[in-house]
């Protein structure tokens, strides 16, 4: 039973489909390969966490596409949301 979904093999985030807690080990399927990720924050259902290290100002990929840029370095297993990810789209709030 999957606990998180990776939408595209290029992605550096996964979406939780259960409530994840710090310290929990989660296995995510990237294409046909599995990756073990240690969760570092509380990650609610539907929220994202990093599955690769993301540098500050690094592009965050979901669906194989850029969904914005990180505002700080994000470690594997950390929650990715409004506190560390911002839109690159001007004019939109």
């Amino acid at each position: 039973m999957e606990q998180a979904l990776v939408m595209h093999s290029k992605d550096n985030v996964a979406t939780a489909i259960s409530e994840l807690k710090p310290g929990e080990m989660v296995s995510v399927l990237i294409g046909s390969e599995r990756l073990e990720v240690k969760i570092r924050d509380n990650v609610p259902f539907g929220h994202k966490f990093a599955i690769k290290h993301i540098n500050k100002d690094g592009i965050v990929f979901k669906y194989g596409q850029s969904i914005g840029v990180s505002t700080s370095a994000i470690n594997v297993g950390q929650h990715v949301h409004t506190h560390n990810l911002k839109s690159l789209r001007g004019g939109l709030k």
Binding site: K48, Y63, G68, L85, S87, L88, R89, L92
Partner: protein
Amino acid sequence: MSRIQEFYGYKRLDGSVGVRNHVAVIAAMDNSNPVARRIAALVKGTIPVAASFGRGMIGEAGKRHDRTLVGFGKNPNIAAALVISLEPSSAKKIANAIAETGKPVEWVAIQTIGGTHKATEEGARTALKMVTDAGKIRREPVPLSELVLGVECGASDTTSGIASNPATGQVADWVVEAGGTVILSERTEIIAGEDFLAENAASPEVGNEILAVVKRCEENARRLGRELTNLAPDNIAGGLTTPEEKSIGAIMKGGTTSIQEVVDYAQRPSKKGLVFMDAPAPGTENITALAGGGAQIIIFSTGVGNPIGCPISPTIKVSGNPNTVVHLSDNIDVDVSSITKGKKSIAEAAEVLYQELIDVINGKMTCSEVLGDVEIAISGYCHL
């Protein structure tokens, strides 16, 4: 695995193929809706097409109104059309345009025939003959390349972007692979994802048209004193962080192929493959535009749930929200919550949705068809 790539449909004289065999009773303007509804209530096998406005409409709104009503009549799911209007000129305008398809079309004008009772009687007699004649048309095997699938999402939530939209997109890719057409729409849903769509378009010209759609939409919003945003506080609480993320999640329902063409509201595509229609996002308005553009079938992806379907084009509701599929089970045709529960992959759940698509185009009725939860809303004003 090999997927079914044909269906049994009703061949029309213009070469199109219907998945339903309805007689449409179309009101050319709002003042004729009661007569159209009355005729449809008297004659089984008909569907009433009630208009919004229509009297004295000018400019783009008038063109859109006419194009949509004509598009309904021309839709392959319609075997014959009866047009009801207040006076002959508006009735003839719609009827003559539908008649280009070669299908039976008649009209009744309430003013000239002598009021409600006479219009109803004449209309009901005509509709009776149309329905009995339509009954002689048999379903025949045709390739899936004859299919025009419209995709829409409404009442979206966190599950839409990870389950029902990607599953719909996988089905869209399979329809395109089989040589069919898929219409992606909802201009406000592509804002912040337009660069990705434009880069992936079939040509730079098509890409520029996609960018122009979004630009016009943003300019209209500014004229109304608004800056467009597609992210609501409940979206953010649900885990969506940026407009790009929400848009790309919405765009997923069109699949991964290149956009071949951009068409106007209720305009029939001239190309096969993935097509973008410049139409507003609200559910009823959007499925109205898709049916007007010739979609025989619609997949409506939903998170929280929405009951509405299109009377002309069967509307399959798919949800990946485990609560919605139980709580709104009356209104959901396909449950893909196996994705959000971690039990099935998107591709596995998409097979279930594809099978439902095949069943419905072969005659299985959708929840909204059975319940009669169907409605039409032609955009009558500047809607974002």
